[in-house]
Amino acid sequence: MNHPRPGEQAELNELHDERLAELYRATRDIEPPAWLAPRILTAARTAVEPHSGPVVSWFRRRGTRFWAPPVALAATVALAVGLLRLLPPVSEPGGMPAMVEDKVLSSMAKSAAEQDAAPTQSIPPAAGAMRMAPPAVPKSEAPAVETRRREPLLQAAPPGGAAETKVDRRDSAQRWTPAEWRAEIARLRRQGRDAEAEARLAEFRRHYPDEPDEPLDDAAERPR
């Protein structure tokens, strides 16, 4: 097993006592317990087997967590969906909810109608019904393009209901150009429906705060 060099042999002989060695050999009948052998040999065999190791190590092999990417993806999707649900709908222009906006418009139209009722002796239709009416002037090219763009979306939407009608109505009003707004306001004034015209004007200001309030031609045509 191990062979000392010749130079060392003399020293070893000097340090060797054959009587002690023989006595010591007589004591070498002690062996490790039998139960240790299978344990150690199994460990040795397992270590060199391919794909050795406990089942749980598949999850943590080489420090990689294989479950991490799908879990991270699912968490990202859940977070994104949650955020989208919290955001207001895209159709809300100024962040004011539709119901509140309708109430404001109605109250404005009502108060304006009360002021105008005596001189004109005419009863204006409700603001909501007014807004249902299409503009009297022909639409420009831009709204036509917008309408064509919206067609696929409308076709893809579920069949109509009250909500759909409301959104459609509001959308059409929101997509008027300033010229259409002015024409509509002028038309109402020409018909003597000042309260409705004021309501429209207020709505117009809200949609186009940077536009001049009244067109010059409409102001000239306004009945005094």
Binding site: M1, P4, E8, L15, D17, I30, A44, R45, A47
Partner: protein, 188 residues
Amino acid sequence: MPTDDDADETLMLRYRAGDANAFTQLYARHKGPLYRYLLRQCGQPAVAEELFQDVWLKLIAARTGYTVQAKFTTWLYRLAHNRLMDYYRASARRLPASYAEDCPEWAAIPAPAEAQPENQEDRRRQAERLLTLLAKLPEAQREAFLLKEEAGLSLETIAQITGTGRETVKSRLRYALARLRRGLGGAP
């Protein structure tokens, strides 16, 4: 006498390459001497079993880094010696002083006894006496004696394993022999 094919180093290389049977051969060859070395150094069978298992498991874990730079026994007993030192340091006894100090008192070595035990019973009693004397030796001297008698290692190899100089090993070994001879009634 092992051939090149079943030399310790060849078997260890085969085991490193995935041959579990090569390890079985190595284990069968070295289990007895290694166990007795550990048992006589720590004196408690339960501790010796734990250390024995640890040494083999450490060898298994370190198989991929094994290269034939020294004899396999040098590597094996180096692992065992280091494990034993860890055990000493962790135990209440701490590291035995005999590992830190050299003993100058080996000058008077008794001569080997000429008389041989007369019968089997007498020899058995002498062997038991030897084990008792061995247990009383300082750890470092006892280790040198065991590495020589159990593993058949040279002075140079024992010095490598224990991390000391060759002359230190010589002095430890001579001191151990002196104590044992004196205890067994050898002539001064």
